[in-house]
């Protein structure tokens, strides 16, 4: 559930902002839940938290502490609004960020406006000034993974054990190589090497706390995963990446061959079920008559 609304949490910059924020509040109250208007801190938690910390070190994306001193606000706002465009335009700093993030492009943030970007930067500035930000990042247990963790992770992934807070299991959209013949869903990306892609245990765990992509956010917003579940899943993902190693074999081919085999089986079954069906009479008769002896 959202926190009770309070104007106090919005940094005061001007009367105009205040009234604007108040306007947003009213709008938000008037609109059904899940609509665009959100309070900045909640918005941050929802959209930024999984990849960025403020003073907690880098996750998938860089630590945002004092980010406003590294680049000017206008640049930052533009980047936040459309990261891909900045990279495509060949902005050197944007490219540097991309490199540091091992090629993971910041995903487009749903419902982000110029005003909200500014509000977020205000929030980051304010939080950076504090000694210990509330967005320093979640603390995860860093105990070594056991085989039980991996097993539980697999069960959670496959949906054999359902997620406590009611989120859908990963397999409905994602697959991991080695799941068996049919694999998992193909809607989302292949998660076999996700732990390598996002840079290990910590960023992956942070990501799972509140997944921020446009597809996953609405799904997990209301039913976030628990810390223990995240731990198990991360263990499973790390294990999966290790199991596969550098093997890049094409999973779609097996899927295609299975489809082909299945079709042959079904057609064969039809042939057997309807083995007594009507077949041509006249043509075989004529063909047979010509070959047979004449009277």
């Amino acid at each position: 559930m959202r926190e009770p609304l309070s104007v106090a949490k919005v940094p005061r910059r001007s009367y105009w902002m205040k009234w604007c924020a108040a306007g947003f509040m009213i709008l938000f109250l008037a609109m059904p839940r899940g609509a665009a208007g959100q309070e900045t801190a909640a918005f941050y938690k929802q959209n930024c938290y999984s990849c960025h910390t403020i003073g907690g070190g880098r996750l998938v994306g860089p630590d945002l502490k004092n980010v406003t001193t590294r680049q000017d606000r206008d640049w930052l706002a533009r980047f936040m609004l459309n990261p891909q465009a900045m990279i495509d335009r060949g902005d050197p700093y944007a490219k540097q960020i991309l490199e540091e993030s091992r090629g993971v492009v910041m995903s487009q943030v749903a419902g982000l406006t110029r005003e909200r970007a500014n509000a977020l930067l205000d929030l980051i500035e304010a939080e950076s000034a504090l000694e210990k930000s509330q967005f320093e990042g979640v603390k995860f247990s860093d105990r070594p993974f056991t085989s039980q963790d991996v097993e539980r992770g697999e069960r959670l992934f496959k949906g054999v054990e359902s997620l406590k807070n009611g989120g859908p299991s990963c397999i409905s959209c994602h697959t991991v190589r080695g799941l068996g013949l049919l694999g998992g869903g193909r809607l989302g990306v292949d998660l076999t090497k996700v732990s390598e892609r996002v840079g290990g245990r910590k960023p992956l765990s942070a990501w799972l706390v509140s997944p921020a992509t446009t597809t996953m956010q609405p799904v997990f917003k209301e039913n976030a995963m628990e810390a223990e579940e995240i731990l198990s899943l991360v263990a499973f993902f790390e294990d999966a990446a290790k199991q596969v190693g550098d093997d890049d074999s094409v999973a779609p081919l097996t899927f295609f061959l299975m489809g082909l085999g299945g079709m042959v089986l079904v057609l064969g079954a039809f042939d057997i079920i309807w083995k007594n069906r009507f077949r041509a009479v006249r043509r075989p008769l004529v063909a047979g008559g010509q070959m047979g002896t004449r009277v």
Binding site: F278, R279, R282, L285
Partner: protein, 496 residues
């Protein structure tokens, strides 16, 4: 006793000359519409031959009719379970090739062809695809034994003939054949009606004509596979099944059906039979050899006061009963017993009967004289060019007795009339033959009259339909008169 009336038919095969006029008359009236090109509600087949569709009598392939199983009979093509499981794919549908691909000719080519060394020809074009085709088959492809080494040799009725008989049948200069005109039999136990999942086919209460309701038909086509005579056809244009309607609009107005009316050889007879509907199931379950007698026993004597009373109780109009009393079919079927149902072993209880044909007379040669007379007066039946076994397969469920009975009687009547008019055989011999053939002089005269001197009124005794009374039950006849006409009020449409 549940007495009902049925318009029944007799075809006298001895008189059929195979001219196909009946087929053309029917075609012109009923099946010259799009989608019906390949249908022949009436067709004439050459026997021995495979008929139309090719080898329709081979029920191992076509799965038509009923089969006896334990205490009851079941449809061969389907049952309640199978009809559901196969509803979207009827596995026993004849293919178009087993009928034939309907075609026309490219007549325009005769006028539009470019100048060249050859005369332009009108090439055949498929009526299905519009493309040029090689004609491979037609509705009477094996007419007059055409292609007999292929077609006639594969006639299913040759089953059970000895090798010698088969060879005789096809020996050069001894070839023999007869014609077998066929329409819907308007059966008492119709397999098409039983198989229809939509309940679109029904047997009319008043005269037993079997009809397909064009509004109810849903194109499942189970009737096509269920009918052992292959007399329901699927109209690929309207998506409905169609079949012979016994020209009911003509019959209802006192006219004979078109194929009857146009018959050149006057082989066709039509009249009412009263039958006992209560016993149909019992009779359809009889063993093969008792089927013909059982089937005959369903037909009731229209002069019997008990039958008349029961018919009246059932709402059969007095004029229909009177019509039944004058029915020529009753005489052929019940009194003289020389008309037999085709393939009664399919157990549909057909209401179209055939008088089996006589083969050409077998002659013996003594020196230079050819003698047609033998000491054995019925020698040409026992040693006929068409073996009795063949006719028995067609009209006697494989049993010869009933067929021989009919043939002997026909033969005896012939000899009797020969003795009367020509006088080259003695009346003594003729009477001996009549006696042996279970026939009296009076009966022979009657058979002779109805066979040779019959007028239209003798051949077609059509019961009054009393449509004027029927319509009174629904609406004011004067209003009805202004709202009807020829053709569909609204044509049949797919899915409608």
């Amino acid at each position: 006793m549940d007495v009902r009336s049925q318009i029944a038919m007799v075809f006298h095969l001895d008189k059929c000359l195979g001219c196909h006029t009946c087929s053309i008359a029917c075609k012109n009236i009923w099946t010259d519409r799009k989608g019906t090109d390949y249908m022949w509600w009436n067709n004439v087949e050459t026997k021995p031959g495979t008929g139309f569709p090719t080898k329709w009598e081979d029920q191992d392939k076509y799965k038509g009719g009923w089969v006896k199983k334990d205490d009851s009979i079941n449809l061969k093509s389907t049952d309640k379970k199978r009809i559901v499981l196969n509803i979207f794919h009827n596995p026993h549908m004849p293919s178009m090739d087993d009928y034939y691909e309907p075609w026309t000719y490219d007549y325009q080519n005769l006028f539009n062809a470019k100048e060249g060394p050859d005369q332009p020809t009108a090439l055949p074009i498929s009526k299905i695809t519009g493309e040029q085709i090689d004609i491979e088959s037609g509705p009477n492809w094996d007419d007059d034994l055409g292609g007999s080494p292929i077609y006639a040799k594969n006639d299913p009725n040759l089953e059970g003939l000895t090798e010698q008989q088969k060879q005789q049948l096809f020996a050069i200069e001894r070839l023999v054949f007869f014609y077998f005109p066929r329409i819907c039999n308007h059966c008492l136990n119709p397999a098409c009606v039983a198989s229809c999942p939509s309940g679109a086919i029904y047997k009319r209460g008043e005269d037993g004509i079997v009809l397909v309701d064009q509004k109810k038909c849903r194109a499942w086509r189970s009737c096509v596979s269920a009918c052992p005579y292959k007399k329901t056809y699927f109209n690929w244009h309207t998506g409905k099944s169609e079949k012979c309607i016994l020209c009911f609009p003509r019959v209802e107005t006192g006219q004979a059906p078109a194929c009857f009316h146009s018959c050149v050889g006057r082989i066709r007879y039509l009249g009412v039979l009263l039958y006992d509907a209560d016993r149909i199931e019992e009779v359809a379950n009889l063993p093969d050899e008792e089927l013909i007698e059982g089937h005959r026993s369903l037909v009731l004597d229209p002069h019997d006061p008990e039958v008349i009373a029961a018919a009246q109780r059932n709402g059969v109009h007095d004029s229909v009963i009177e019509s039944a009393q004058n029915s020529p079919t009753y005489k052929f079927v019940k009194e003289w017993r020389i008309a037999l149902p085709p393939h009664i072993e399919y157990r549909t209880m057909p209401m179209l009967y055939y008088v089996p044909p006589m083969s050409p007379v077998m002659a013996t040669q003594e020196g230079k004289t050819i003698n047609h007379v033998s000491d054995n007066l019925f020698h040409d039946i026992d040693e006929a060019r068409v073996p009795v076994k063949f006719l028995a397969n067609l009209f006697g469920a494989g049993h010869e007795a009933k067929v021989v009975y009919a043939l002997r009687k026909s033969k005896a009547v012939r000899w009797y009339r020969r003795a009367v008019t020509v006088g080259d055989v003695s009346m003594e011999d003729a009477k001996k033959m009549l006696g042996a053939a279970d026939c009296t002089v009076e009966e022979a005269e009657e058979i002779y009259k109805l066979t040779s001197l019959c007028t239209v009124e003798d051949r077609y005794v059509i019961p009054p339909a009393h449509r004027e009374e029927a319509i009174e039950m629904i609406e004011d006849p004067h209003c009805h008169r202004q709202s009807v006409g020829f053709g569909f009020v609204s044509g049949p449409r797919r899915g409608a």
